[in-house]
């Protein structure tokens, strides 16, 4: 966590110092709404650490899970939780709600 914060800060400092062209968002928000991931397809850059903010906008708990990313996190109703992924190789990584397995999404790493 601390490392991530520090490196995120460093990245921001470097980005500010070097060029404003670095518009890369280190964080991506994925909402869960009516048993759907919004958006259900998320694109992130390869070989970078990215924070996925999972916001559960339902009245029931959800469990964000991905076997290829080795992530599983219970998100309480009306709450948000952070899941850090990467650095990842390019490819498609599936994720789903373990409490409603039909709720699926994909992380596209480019």
């Amino acid at each position: 966590m601390r490392l991530t914060r520090t490196s995120a800060l460093l990245v921001m400092l470097v980005a500010v110092a070097v060029a404003p062209a670095f518009a890369d968002e280190p964080a991506v928000t994925i909402a869960i709404r009516d048993h759907q991931f919004v958006p259900s397809e998320v694109q992130i850059r390869a070989n970078a650490k990215v924070e996925l903010i999972i916001r559960n906008e339902q009245t029931t708990p959800a469990e964000f899970e991905s076997t290829s990313l080795h992530r599983e996190k219970v998100v309480a109703p009306g709450k948000a939780a952070s899941v850090f992924v990467g650095p990842l190789k390019p490819g498609r990584y599936d994720f789903f709600d373990d409490f409603h397995p039909a709720t699926r999404g994909v992380l596209v790493v480019q």
């Binding site: 966590m1 490392l3 991530t4 009245t59 029931t60 708990p61 469990e63 076997t67 290829s68 080795h70 992530r71 599983e72 996190k73 219970v74 998100v75 309480a76 109703p77 709450k79 939780a81 952070s82 899941v83 850090f84 990842l88 190789k89 373990d98 409490f99 409603h100 397995p101």
Partner: protein, 288 residues
Amino acid sequence: MLATAIIVFREVLEAALIVGIVLAASQGVPRRGFWVGSGIAGGILGAVVVAGFAETLAAAMAGVGQEVFNAAILFAAVAMLGWHNIWMRRHASELAAAANRLGAAVRAGSQPLWALAFAVGLAVLREGSEVVLFLYGIAAAGDGSAGAMTLGGALGLAAGVAAGAGIYFGLVRIPMRHLFAVTSWLILLLAAGMASQGAAFLLQADLLPPLGQTVWDTSFLLADQSLTGRILHALIGYTAQPAGIQLVFYLATLLIIGSLMRLIGGAPRPARSTGATATHPTRLQPGE
């Protein structure tokens, strides 16, 4: 209702398989029913408490409380299972011999099975808290499906318990002199699988490096979500796409508990006469 049953079954399955194995592993130890029962009861109670504090837990430790908690529970269970295996190796020959001498007092049996009770309790707590959260979610949604939810939950629970009973009755058919060798291997693999799962949680919390995001991918052969995949995940820690750090923890657990079993648990061989006097078949009846 069916969806509820399936999800409850999945969560119960892992704990039930563990209970089935530890029951078989403690075959012949007096009062094991009390110890394992206390473990289950304590685990259920803990599951409700943990589910109640889920939000607080998730927010703890800068947002990685859930991961650290899960990892801690898993590593504690690994330690308990390891301890039990080491202890059992010392006393297994005694137990097997005592089972042959009808009416003989089992000296080893005077030892409490607290390590086993703890391991069971932790397994039930971890899986149970997710069941409680999930069922609470359905209940809170309040779409008048309380009856269906209760029925689905009960069905899922029954199916999970049946799986645990299945592995137990399968194991106790093994002759007593081989039973402990088999169950100690099973418990060793169980512990290694839990350690690998614990490593995955610490990896998720960013407290451990991945050492290779995906070392291999066997999801085309056996997916994690399939029933076989889930059973193997519970039993030996099967993961279709393991991270390097998971393999490190898996192998280290096998190595550490395995060598401690040899070093500390290496009991002096029982006197040959003890075994020679046995005339009864060593097969045990189910349920003692």
